[in-house]
Symmetry: C2
Subunit: 434 residues, 2 copies
């Protein structure tokens, strides 16, 4: 019992208050995405195993929850399905499946559970919600800009108080390597190390670059310029190479197209790399005081849909770290929603009248609870009404029944008022402005 009584490791039960809090957050983000014309998509919890296998690298593959074959094949111990690991591979599969039914470009949002057999830890779950927007089938820089704008609106809708988009471009990063004469074969490793400049001291980063085989003078010059947090120093260098100029043009166009956001909301950060090597164009990360790392990210990944099994289409998108944002919120929430009207039950004879009244109130949209316990005592039932945080209680005792009235009790003030039964529903609805 003790063992089975807990939800599986790394998963959570969401009771009423948490469901409401989460659904409210999801609804806010959905509304923001809808205003951009993004359309909702829901895919199955699991996919064929071959759709997921080999898409997440060796480490990722180990974290996939695989589903055992069924029936006579169960004894084989083999899996044929797997729980989805992200929302991007299912998107690629959907574009392959429904291509001609989809508008092009296909702009979809998805807010849904994914499952990863990570070691559970503080804020790290095995079942968690991802929140993605993607535009498949457009090379327009407007699509990149709208990704940032929609993510911005989503974060604002979630109530994140302060945040900043750090933007860069894969082209600009290539230009950076060209400008500083980083040997081609060291490029990837150099970028991975430079990405640590937001966490590690510049000296340590330079030392790691040297360890990785970069000449010391190049390493120190590169790190000095990037750590200066003065994009103009780097801009000058980028401007001297072809790929650098192309990257700068990409970055500047994105800055221009997102200029309607508050000043300082979007900044060119030349050292920002993003680990994932499938990005092909502009990239972004969103940072916010109070959060380490990023709370949203994304970019252009023109080859990815094809690589994931979909057709070869350009694409860009972004993802909001909605679980991180939710986990940062005030957890001291109230229990469930309170009742508008609580109805104690003091006798069996009164039951049909009370249920009929409850029905009238509910038809008017009020949230009404009827006492379902076994106590016949008024005091105990009023305590129940209080525990339910009811705004009003309706009492129908023997005396009230004789007079064909109910007593309406204001649970905040304790004031009581006798109201004829036929008028009770109207009277109560008026208390709620209805």
């Amino acid at each position: 019992m003790a063992q089975t009584a807990e939800p599986p490791s790394g998963t959570r039960d969401f009771l009423a208050a948490e469901v409401r809090r989460r659904e409210h957050a999801f609804a806010s983000v959905r509304a923001a995405f809808e205003r951009y014309g993004f359309e909702p998509l829901q895919t199955p919890a699991f996919e064929r195993l071959e759709v997921l296998s080999g898409k997440y690298g060796d480490e990722g593959d180990k974290l996939i929850f695989k589903i055992l074959r069924r029936g006579e094949h169960a004894a084989s111990g083999e899996a044929d399905m797997a729980l989805r690991y992200d929302l991007t591979v299912p998107l690629a599969r959907v574009v392959a499946t429904h291509g001609n039914r989809l508008p092009m470009p296909y702009r979809r949002y998805a807010i849904g559970s994914v499952w990863r057999a990570d070691r559970p830890g503080k804020g790290r779950f095995r079942e968690f919600t991802q929140c993605d927007i993607d535009t498949v089938g457009s090379t327009s820089p407007l699509a990149d800009a709208e990704t940032l704008l929609a993510v911005n609106d989503g974060l604002v809708a979630l109530g994140v108080p302060q945040f900043r988009f750090e933007i860069n471009s894969r082209q600009a990063l290539h230009g950076l390597l060209d400008a500083y004469n980083v040997p081609e074969q060291l490029g990837g490793r150099v970028l991975i190390t430079l990405d640590k400049l937001d966490k590690i001291a510049p000296d340590a980063v330079a030392a790691e670059l040297v360890d990785r085989g970069l000449a010391r003078d190049i390493a120190t010059g590169l790190v000095a310029d990037l750590a200066a947090d003065d994009p103009d120093r780097v801009r000058k260098q980028l401007d001297a190479t072809e790929r650098g100029r192309a990257g700068l043009a990409e970055v500047d166009r994105l800055l221009r197209l997102t200029a309607s956001m508050p000043p300082g909301r979007v900044a060119f950060v030349p050292r920002m790399v993003r680990g994932l090597d499938y990005y092909t164009g502009p990239i972004f990360e969103v940072t916010s005081a109070g959060f380490t790392g990023s709370i949203a990210s994304g970019g252009r990944y023109d080859g990815l849909v094809g690589a994931l099994g979909g057709p070869d289409l350009p694409a860009c998108g972004g993802s909001i770290g909605i679980e991180r944002i939710l986990s940062q919120r005030d957890d001291a929430e109230q229990g469930g929603a309170g009742l508008d009207v609580a109805i104690p039950v003091l006798s069996e004879e009164s039951e049909p009248t009370l249920l009929a009244l409850a029905g009238e109130l509910r038809a008017g949209g009020l949230r009404v609870g009827v006492y379902l316990g076994s106590s016949g005592k008024m005091a105990k039932q009023l305590k129940w009404a209080n525990d339910q945080r009811a705004r009003f209680a309706v009492l129908l005792g023997a005396r009230e029944q004789a007079d064909n009235v109910v007593t309406v009790r204001d649970m905040h003030s304790g004031d009581q008022r006798r109201v004829p039964i036929p008028e009770a529903a109207t009277h109560l609805r008026e208390q709620f402005g209805g």
Copy 2:
């Protein structure tokens, strides 16, 4: 590719129109349940295997999707988790896990996916949504009545035009066996056969009863009374036995407590059995013209929560067959939601102005799409606006730019109007009453 391009057998991708249709239906039902004070609950997609095993009989056990152990244990071919098969076992587990955090009685609704490895077929899926309400911890007949009332409101909210609650009671069924002198050891099988009276001719049912060992005169008498569809004939028989009287009292109280529903909405149907033997009190099924079988069902099952691994608490509940109801609906729905405003892009210089205008319109709640394709041709972009079912299009060409105006085109009438750029957002919002 051909194989991997389909979602797994028995599962579905929900594109925009279907997501909207389903979410709208779920929201309507949720709102109905909320008015009764039912609270939302969300549990993980999977549970520990031992929580699910042995709960659904041999046939059910075979249909459970089991999840392979991970890491070094993957090679064992063993499963340790399983996708949830219904929402009732997770409820029992939640009551065991969170008992003292839950209000008592605990009244929860759950609308969520369950997974069953059934052979897929028309209207039969391996991933589908269940829609349950349950009250745990109350023996009050009001709890049974409120289950029916809430299911009624849910069905009305779903737009089911006509339906009827058939109610009965396990006690009344026991009384029926007593009244007709059915030998104790034949009771269960006799009830299972009687349940077929809504599908099979009375003669055939009587014959099957005889096959099962019931004396011919008893079988024909029982079937004749039940098939007559005249509850009074059976009432007289029930009234002659102790369990029959107890059952009738249960049924009559439920009829009295649900009398606020439209006439004929609830009917005592003495032959209605419900296959599942965990019911202990009143039971119900909802039938509707246009549907074979039931579209909702439930009852009281006081021993079930304990038997499923939870504490020993009384409980009652109901379930709406929401997938059946959704599948019956008109499928000839439109595509996604149309745009309020479509914004063609005729030059790179106009982009920042257009995105800023789009931002203003979205801040006012409008759904705005910006052209993300590669054509520079006005005709092609207007076709796009039309395909998006946009209400208005905003055009900013070279001439407009020189005059600092946009052309607002009514996509229904084709009327065009020049509006100064600074007034464009206000002008358009006014068209939508904002």
